[in-house]
């Protein structure tokens, strides 16, 4: 009787081993064949079409949106101080250049645009005093050349021109990543007898889809 039970136990043990082995085989088959279960099971395939509509977007950004020289004054005995974003530099004054740089404008949409830039104030309105200067220039960003087809109003160059209410900068401003940026630098000459207090102006960039 005892021997009989021992035999049954052994058979059950062997069956258990076989069942476990089959289970492991089953799991491994599922894991290894799951991507192609359709071929394993004879699952029927069918094809479909995917329709995607991509909307055109006109979009621009200023990667630097403010220029702030903080507080300062013209050095005593000097007739004016000159502040420039290219550098940046301050001469004959004690304004800070920390964090100051030119504005970089980028076409981040997926269409070409025409680009106009305007200042809100003239040099006299912004700074006041005797012979103030409020000028800008437009240049290509290094490594992003060729993205701005010059407008007849201006040239992309290091030459500074008086900031004005509206100027056409790019007839075509490209959206392709390696040529979609231009830089705007400013030169300010603040006379010793300028207006005082917080002086502010807003540069408006207008991009029109073409």
């Amino acid at each position: 009787m005892f021997k009989m039970r021992q035999k049954i136990n052994r058979v059950i043990f062997i069956l258990t081993i076989i069942a476990a082995a089959l289970a492991i085989l089953n799991v491994s088959l599922i894991l290894t064949k799951s991507p192609s279960l359709i071929s394993l099971t004879g699952f029927a395939t069918s094809t479909g079409t995917v329709n995607v509509s991509i909307e055109a977007v006109v979009s621009i950004n200023f990667t630097t949106s403010h220029i702030n020289w903080s507080y300062g004054q013209v050095t005593s005995g000097q007739t004016s101080a000159t502040l420039m974003t290219d550098g940046p530099s301050v001469s004959n004054g004690n304004w800070s250049t920390t964090g100051v740089s030119g504005l970089v404008l980028e076409n981040i949409g997926n269409v070409n645009v025409s680009l106009k830039v305007g200042a809100g104030k003239t040099a006299l309105e912004l700074l006041g005093g005797t012979d103030p200067i409020y000028q800008w220039n437009f240049t290509e960003v290094v490594g992003e050349e060729g993205g701005c087809t010059n407008h007849t109003d201006t040239n992309l160059s290091l030459t500074y021109y008086d900031a004005n209410a509206s100027i056409g900068v790019c007839e075509v401003f490209n959206y392709l990543n390696d040529k979609d940026s231009i830089r705007i630098d400013f030169k300010l000459v603040i006379p010793y007898n300028s207006l005082t207090g917080i002086r502010e102006d807003t540069i408006t960039a207008t991009a029109t889809a073409i």
């Binding site: 979009s59 621009i60 702030n68 645009v113 102006d201 807003t202 207008t206």
Partner: protein, 370 residues
């Protein structure tokens, strides 16, 4: 907890910093086209994307037809969407393309900075007003260059911008580079209704065409003849040797360049040139390179010609895709001129002449004094 607070603070700092530094404004859809019809009324919904969630944005219309535009709102804060309704008039007298600008403009904030910025973006709705009578516009393009034996696909667009429907006979003439007409692909007579835009795809089989540049002219006959053209190239498995170094210096390791140009519309790999200078039994190979379709580039290698001098016959063998193209050339080997020595000799001669004239002059003066 302390660590989480630090991470959160850094995260908040980055968000605040970015908010101060970046400013972006977007508007979609950027461009819409519409054909004019009397009293046509249509609506579009525009979406505005703005980085600053508190930024006020003005909505406005511009362009010559701005008076026919109305909005469901004229102000947004931090982006969103708005509806544009356009109610065109009974008649627009000037035919052609008219532009409506749909603009969104950031209202400048109270940032305390000497120079602040504001963005404005403008989407465009083009309204096409048909021309009186019959007026068609046409254009043609191809799917690109091909290799010999491959098909060229022509895409022809014919737009009826006139008020009258037309029946137009359309064909494409294919010309060789020398201007010889090779064949005409007839598309037959097509009905094109007023303000209808039609696109026709046509296949050109190039089995009988030789490699080279070609021109295709779309001809649309609707009582008047309208033409538009495009060009394409049929590539042959050939790489042209366009240039090479003609003069070498003796007793020096010389760089030798071979200019090449692919006439094939697929990429070629492992191209190299072998240059053999006959009589003096010298040869070298350039580095191997790959060549993109129709690309021009220069293969370069180095050769030491020893103390040989003179003009020698040579051959450039260009190896690519199991093919060898050969070009017979002449190479001139010259001695390097020592510029420093020439300058020194020149200075010496000049000094001798100067001393000679100085002495002559002095002798004359001495004679006069005596």
């Amino acid at each position: 907890m302390k660590r989480e607070l630090i991470v959160l603070s850094v995260f908040l700092f980055i968000i605040i910093y970015c908010a101060n530094v970046f400013a972006a404004l977007g508007l979609s859809p950027a461009i819409k086209n519409i054909d004019f019809s009397p009293n046509l009324k249509f609506e579009y919904t525009y979406t505005v994307e703005e980085d600053d969630s508190e930024k006020e944005i003005e909505i406005y219309a511009g362009g010559e037809l701005a008076e026919y535009v109305s909005f469901d709102k004229t102000m947004l804060v931090g982006g969103g969407s708005f509806k544009v309704t356009v109610e065109l008039p009974e008649e627009i007298k000037v035919p052609g393309k008219h532009r409506i600008l749909i603009g969104v403009k950031e209202v400048p904030g109270d940032e305390e900075s000497l120079i602040g910025t504001s963005l404005t973006v403008e989407a465009v709705i083009y309204v096409f007003v048909p021309y009186p009578g019959k007026y068609l516009e046409a254009s043609i393009s191809t799917s690109g260059d091909v290799n010999a034996g491959e098909n060229v696909k022509f895409i022809s667009n014919v737009n009826n911008l006139g008020k009258e429907d037309v029946v137009a006979g359309i064909g494409i003439d294919v010309y060789s580079a020398s201007g010889e007409k090779i064949e005409t692909l007839g598309l037959g007579d097509k009905d094109i209704k007023s303000q209808e835009r039609k696109t026709y795809n046509t296949i050109l089989k190039t089995e009988d065409y030789k490699p080279g540049p070609y021109r295709a002219e779309l001809v649309v006959n609707y009582g008047e003849i309208l033409r538009a053209e495009t060009s394409f190239r049929i590539g042959g498995l050939f790489v042209n040797i366009t240039n090479y170094t003609r003069e070498l210096l003796s007793n020096k390791i010389n760089k030798f360049s071979v200019g090449i140009e692919s006439q094939w519309n697929s990429k070629l790999e492992n191209i190299y040139a072998e240059v053999k200078v006959r009589d003096i039994n010298l040869s070298f190979k350039t580095v191997s390179s790959e060549l993109m379709p129709w690309e021009r580039k220069s293969l370069e290698g180095y050769i030491d010609v020893g103390d040989f001098e003179g003009v020698y016959d040579a051959v450039i063998s260009l190896n690519y895709a199991g093919i060898i193209s050969e070009k017979e050339i002449e190479i001139k080997i010259v001695k390097e001129t020592n510029l420093t020595l020439h300058v020194l000799l020149g200075v010496l001669v000049f000094a001798v002449v100067l001393v000679y004239f100085f002495l002559i002059n002095r002798r004359k003066n001495d004679t006069k004094k005596k």
